[in-house]
Amino acid sequence: MGDLLDIASVALSASQNQLQRISHNVSNASTTGYKRAVGLFDSVSLHTANLGQSPAVGRRDMSPAALRSTGNPFDLAISGEGMFLIRGGSGLELTRNGQFQRRDDGAVVGIGGGVLQFRRGGDVIVGDGDFEVLVDGMVLDDGAPIGFIGVGDGGVAGEHSSSAGVHFAYSPAVDGEPLSGSVRQGFVETSNTRLELETIEMMAAVRQAELASRLVQTYDALVGQASTAFGRGV
């Protein structure tokens, strides 16, 4: 008896998960370097119910977004393939977010405090003179070359996992690999959220939820009728 109700509630939960993922994408429509979460539409049944699926798990759409010019020398963007290597609180991470600034001790840090790393590892530390980054990733500290930044994604783009869509898990496959794209100074990469797609997926999720709730109502009415009819007979 409970099966029908459970299946309907699983359907409602699936719709809710989709809406959560969509709202996550929409709220990050202006986040620099954000990669939108793509829905994983696995079959939903009572036995493989992925009720616990949060928007954190799932594939990211790694397609590039448009670059926006800011004129800030510490704003970097990658045009084409490649990612920035940074050292965050929990180890090495990859990101496309290039909004950096120079800390007092000279380290170049991004949002969240992650320190920009050279291609072969090591913090990028610069003086307070001219900071210049060339198209192939070469960093010039007051005219003197100090190393390369930006790593290739090792052919595993799309398989990097991410919790918030901005920082991606580091994989040893990218160690020291040069990027085939170009580094642009004075630009940032905008979010690749596609509002028209999010709207359509949201509409589909809402219709799905509506139908699922109809199921629950119908089922409820049936059970009500059954208990009334049987009750009368007593």
Partner: protein, 249 residues
Amino acid sequence: MSDAFYIGGVGLSAQQLALDTIANNITNMSTHGFKRDTVQFAALVGDGRDNGAAAATAHGVVPSLQHTLDRQGDIEVTGNAMDLAIDGVGFIEVVGARGQSFAWRGGSLEVTADGWLAAPGGMVLRAMINVPYDATDLNIASDGTVSAALADDGEVTLGSISLLRVGQSDVVDRLDGGFYSLEDSGFVQSSLPGEDGLGQLVQGSLEQSNVDLNDEMVSLMIVQRAYAANAKVVQAADEVLSLANNLRR
């Protein structure tokens, strides 16, 4: 879920790409040597016959971007001897920092510190023309011959610039500054200007972009209407689903 829903979505994305392309074309209206992009739409058809369907099913549209490499822009005379334009078909080959080949449609030449004739950004011409230190004038003939007038009234021929035949059907990547990467295009024929139907070099001029503002404006209006029509399709599909859901009160 209604197919019309998702097909409308595919249409919206395709029109969005067309809009982005038009925006890029208009932005580069004054860029010398720029070749505008066009968006070609092709029907996306899914073959449902394997699953027992009677015929192939429609799945929307596939947009593809094309560079209009064969369309000539207007030649504008600047009078600057270091300006070079190509009148006709063909690209000048330049060499990048790591030895890779790029195609360039001409523009303002410069002389590097070592005396090599190069495109902006230090991209040395494949023709490897070295300009002597005491050269006063640079002369580039329409058939590609480069000569320089020396301070002591002598004239010396430095070499000749040949053109690459890069056409519409070649696969090229557009890069910054009007350079086209030839990585994936296989063998590219190279000849002297004026031979084999290639164009001629025009010194002292720059080629304007081949963007026609009237064309872009008309395309923009069409894209706007198409976008609105696709959105209407999505709305209609949504209403149909709503009706279906509410069949039972």
